[in-house]
């Protein structure tokens, strides 16, 4: 199954993330319902017409399930199993919940104090916790029960004590992070008492962690209670709890299996319902999970084109290296659809350097990533348009063909080289891997070639740096490595996605120059994504300006810079600080770009445009030619040849 474009599970309208939530919630909801039923039955047990769970009737012992009057049969003393099961569940649930609460209370308290106080207190508390953890946990429980005597309450304490370290460690971790944060520091400076601070400021932020830990520990606690009772250390006869029922029934495993199987199944149902619900709670309370962010993108962006875009066959001149027509990329998150790229057309010729400019969120990076289907799916989906590279539609390629293109004829340079280089591999290995993927080289040859590449991007001591890990290099060095990697296979097109944004200004200039000269040397075309017109002016032959997912202006760099047609372009150019003119007013563009999931009709820039009129807010605006090689999406362009 290599057809990347037709994944087996096609996202329905509503998208992958909707599906995700549904699945998660379905399981969690199942857990909730199951738990609710169990809890309800447990709560109602005293009202149900059940026989006394402790009434023995030795003559009726070990009746099989299904016996009239004893639906689940009887145990070795002739007690009604159904009744004991329900009363026993009450006990097990109560003990599990109480133990969780006790452990959560003391564990969180220790964690809060340790995390907040830090220093010696922290050290002392955490060493004690280590001590408890190093003691085999069942033995700790056994010893506590041996000291205090058996009994449910003592078993409860034992289980609670054993679980305190989990809470303490988790909560301490979170608190430690919070205690160093500004708002706490501010409150501390303002003379707030530590207790007030701890419970007023920190506790509310730690609360979700406590709840999540509780929800994940509860099931474990119920199992542990059962375990202690199973060993005979929990509930005292004749009281039933699920563990002691299992322990008693175990002796009858070969003669009357139902006596142990029934409570076993009950424990299982109880714990699994708690765990399912716990997962749901965790998903809900964990901010990362709630945003639907904890999804793994697949190898290539899903493509769901209703129809291939109309081919702009009327293009004259030599076949362009890259042509993008009507590209539409969307992010489906829950019920919301973000139209990040709403119909982009681009053309790039061999060796040409095109700058794609826009504010953050304008869709320029998504456009760049869409070219080789690197937009994460989920939640991204390419829903329309066509991307032709050297004449072939990349959106229809098989996984294998796509891989050959990636890093081969088309390569990428990303913004932050610290996060884009793999932290656990030496840079040399990563470079060699790029070579090996596309060239049939011996490993000695590949290493040699890698050193050459590092030298080419002017990394001093290239031979030694091969063994360096990314975190051992400076930001500029890392980006040089990335450039070397991008150029390793002499690509026809380099897509550079804000490669200098994360760097110092002085380093920026060096990197740009390096990129320019090397691309020129290899005659590689460059698609340069940036928000900075200053950078564009140094590097690019042509420029395309994006706003709210669309190209709003295109033209040769010089011309656009000197005479912008779209008011947005004009504003962007005004934003560029010029060296030596520090007193020049850098004017930020007032307002914010529109949310891409609720785009206004007409010109998307209208709300922020000083020149906007009523006509700007109506109808669809097309990207219209306003001169030779120039186009703008504006009813009232600032410049036009006509």
């Amino acid at each position: 199954m290599d057809a990347v474009s037709t994944p087996t599970v096609r996202p329905k309208p509503g998208g992958r993330s909707g599906l995700r939530l549904l699945v998660r919630n379905r399981l969690a909801a199942f857990g909730l319902v199951l738990l609710a039923v169990l809890l309800l039955v447990a709560l109602l047990t005293p009202l149900l017409p059940l026989p006394d769970p402790d009434a023995t009737a030795p003559a009726d012992r070990l009746l099989p399930p299904g016996t009239p009057g004893h639906w689940l049969g009887t145990d070795h003393l002739g007690r009604d199993l159904l009744s004991r099961l329900l009363w026993g569940s009450r006990v097990s649930i109560a003990v599990g919940v109480s133990a969780t609460l006790v452990a959560a209370f003391f564990g969180s308290l220790i964690g809060l104090v340790a995390g907040y106080a830090g220093g010696r207190v922290d050290n002392l508390l955490m060493r004690s916790i280590d001590l408890v953890m190093a003691f085999p946990y069942i033995l700790l429980a056994l010893t506590i029960v041996a000291v205090l005597g058996p009994g449910l309450l003592n078993a409860l304490y034992a289980i609670a004590v054993v679980n305190i370290p989990f809470f303490a460690r988790n909560i301490r971790g979170v608190t430690l992070g919070l205690a160093r944060r500004e708002f706490v520091a501010a409150a501390r400076l303002s003379g707030a008492r530590p207790a007030t601070l701890l419970f007023g400021e920190i506790l509310p932020s730690v609360w979700p962690t406590i709840v999540v830990t509780m929800s994940t520990t509860l099931g474990w606690m119920i199992l542990e209670t059962a375990g202690l009772s199973f060993l005979g250390l929990g509930a005292q006869p004749p009281q039933a709890d699920l563990g002691s029922m299992l322990g008693e029934g175990r002796k009858l495993l070969f003669t009357a299996p139902h006596v142990s199987i029934i409570p076993g199944v009950m424990i299982f149902l109880l714990v699994i319902s708690v765990n399912l619900l716990g997962d749901g709670v965790r998903d809900y309370l964990d901010p990362r999970l709630k945003a639907g962010a904890l999804t793994a993108p697949v190898a290539a962006t899903a493509v769901q084109r209703d129809r291939p875009a109309d081919r702009a066959d009327g293009s004259e001149g030599p076949d362009p290296l890259l042509s993008v027509a009507g590209l539409q990329t969307e992010f489906h998150q829950g019920d919301r659809i973000h139209r990040a790229v709403g119909g982009v057309d681009l053309v790039l010729h061999p060796g040409e350097r095109l700058g794609l400019v826009g504010e953050s969120g304008s869709g320029k990076s998504v456009t760049a990533l869409s070219l080789l289907r690197l937009v994460p799916t989920p939640p991204g989906i390419i829903v329309g348009g066509e991307i032709r590279f050297a004449g072939r539609d990349t959106l229809g390629l098989s996984a294998r063909e796509l891989r050959q293109l990636r890093g081969g004829r088309v390569s990428y340079i990303f913004q932050d080289p610290l996060s884009t280089l793999h932290p656990l591999f030496p840079v040399g290995d990563q470079l060699v891997e790029a070579l090996h993927t596309h060239q049939d080289l011996s490993s000695g040859k590949a290493r040699q070639r890698a050193v050459e590449l590092l030298e080419k991007v002017q990394i001093p001591g290239a031979q030694q740096r091969m063994r360096a890990y990314p975190h051992e290099l400076s930001g500029g060095m890392r980006q040089r490595v990335c450039i070397a990697m991008a150029l390793a296979n002499r690509p026809d097109l380099v897509v550079a996605d804000e490669p200098t944004t994360a760097l110092d200004v002085t380093v920026q200039a060096q990197i740009l120059e390096l990129l320019r000269s090397l691309a020129a040397e290899q005659n590689s075309a460059v698609l340069f994504i940036t928000h900075d017109f200053g950078v564009v002016s140094e590097l690019c032959d042509r420029v395309a300006v994006m706003y709210a997912g669309r190209i709003v202006e295109q033209g040769p760099t010089e011309e656009v810079l000197s005479a912008p047609a779209h008011p947005y372009t004009a504003k962007l150019i005004e934003c560029v600080p010029v060296l030596g003119e520090s007193d020049r007013k850098v004017e930020a563009i007032p307002g914010l770009p529109p949310a891409v999931d609720e785009l206004p009709a007409g010109c998307h820039f209208a709300d922020r445009c000083p020149f906007a009129e009523d006509q700007c807010r109506r109808g669809e605006l097309a990207l219209e030619n306003i001169g030779r090689d120039r186009a703008a999406r504006c009813r009232k362009p600032l410049w036009s040849e006509a």
């Binding site: 599970v9 992958r16 699945v23 399981l27 060493r127 004690s128 280590d130 001590l131 190093a134 003691f135 085999p136 946990y137 069942i138 033995l139 056994l142 010893t143 041996a146 000291v147 099931g219 474990w220 199992l223 375990g227 199973f230 175990r250 495993l253 070969f254 142990s260 076993g264 424990i267 299982f268 714990v271 699994i272 765990n275 904890l294 999804t295 793994a296 993108p297 190898a299 690197l374 994460p376 996984a399 891989r403 293109l405 990636r406 890093g407 390569s411 990428y412 990303f414 932050d416 996060s419 884009t420 280089l421 793999h422 932290p423 656990l424 790029a434 993927t437 596309h438 890990y469 990335c482």
Partner: protein, 314 residues
């Protein structure tokens, strides 16, 4: 690295000191004494007193502790009251059996837990993911001792495929296949819960890692997807999973008590339970120390492994 190791090993000392005092104190709090346990029905106060004197248990507790600690420094863990043999012999024999059991369980749970976690993450939201998630949940929700009983019923009594208990055949045997046949059920049972924990954690870690920029970089380089997942992503996910593997190792050793009881595995968990019930102070002391040291060492090993994987931690 050596400094780090030395520091970590040195940090065990106060923990062990604290533990040994804790054990002494706890055993003193438990009602009953070894003499009563040994004498059973014949434990008249007079007999108990005489036996206590012979065992040196009539001395004050701090003195007993100091004697014990002094002997320990000379490598002598004392002699078990109830078993009438050197504690060291008993403890290391038993610990060996537990290591075999826990070690195989750890191998099983590491292998299947990691595999299941990776597969579930890579096929997120597909049937594979859902099945794995559900199986894993079933695993962590089943009382392990109950599972063990059911397995004995099925595989030993009904099908008669595997021996019901013990570590070696009663007569003859003693070779590796014999051990493996005896090991199969307890190791699997013991591994079930830990497999679930590791699988869940691996899945989350993989999902987290697969969203990282460097994975996108690898894909943008045209690296085959299999390599992206099992080399780039898996290695990074391992870094988060390994400390948990260390903690699980502690749990598996501690949690072996139930399994050792059900399958009559001659391990240290069962020994400690017996030792507590017979008030065999020195045996408890020796056993707890060995288990605690192994717990610390497992965690240390996990930390070292993590540091080997992740250069940023070195």
């Amino acid at each position: 690295m050596w400094l780090f190791l030395g520091k970590r090993l040195f940090a065990i000392v106060p923990i062990l000191l604290g533990l040994s005092i804790l054990v002494f104190a706890m055993m003193a709090l438990i009602p009953g004494d070894p003499a009563t346990a040994i004498l059973g029905s014949y434990a008249t106060p007079e007999n108990v007193a005489r036996l206590n004197e012979q065992l040196g248990l009539d001395r004050p507790l701090p003195q007993q502790y100091l004697i014990w600690a002094g002997n320990l420094l000379q490598g002598d863990l004392g002699r078990s009251y109830a078993l009438n043999r050197p504690v060291a012999h008993e403890v290391f024999e038993r610990f060996g059996a537990t290591l075999i059991l826990a070690g195989s369980a750890l191998l099983l749970c590491a292998f299947f837990g990691l595999l299941a976690g990776v597969v579930a993450a890579v096929r997120q939201f597909r049937w594979t993911d859902r099945i794995v998630t559900l199986v894993v949940l079933v695993g962590i929700s089943t009382p392990s001792f109950w599972l063990g009983l059911l397995m004995i019923m099925l595989f030993a009594v009904h099908l008669q495929w595997l021996p019901a208990s013990g570590m070696y055949a009663a007569y003859g045997g003693g070779d590796l296949p014999d051990l493996l046949r005896h090991l199969a059920m307890p190791a699997v049972t013991l591994a079930v819960v830990a497999t679930g924990v590791i699988a869940r954690l691996t899945r989350t870690a993989m999902l987290e890692v697969l969203r990282q920029d460097y994975i996108r970089t690898a894909r943008a380089k045209g690296v085959p997807e299999r390599r992206v997942i099992y080399r780039h992503a898996f290695k990074a996910a391992l870094v988060t999973v390994i400390p948990v593997l260390g903690i699980q190792a502690g749990f598996v050793i501690g949690g072996a008590v139930y399994i050792e009881t059900v399958f009559q595995w001659p391990g240290i968990g069962r020994m400690l339970v017996n030792a507590i019930s017979t008030r065999d102070l020195l045996l408890v002391q020796g056993g707890v120390l060995v288990v605690a040291v192994s717990y610390v060492l497992f965690n240390l090993a996990a930390d070292i492994l993590q540091a080997l994987l992740d250069p940023r931690l070195r």
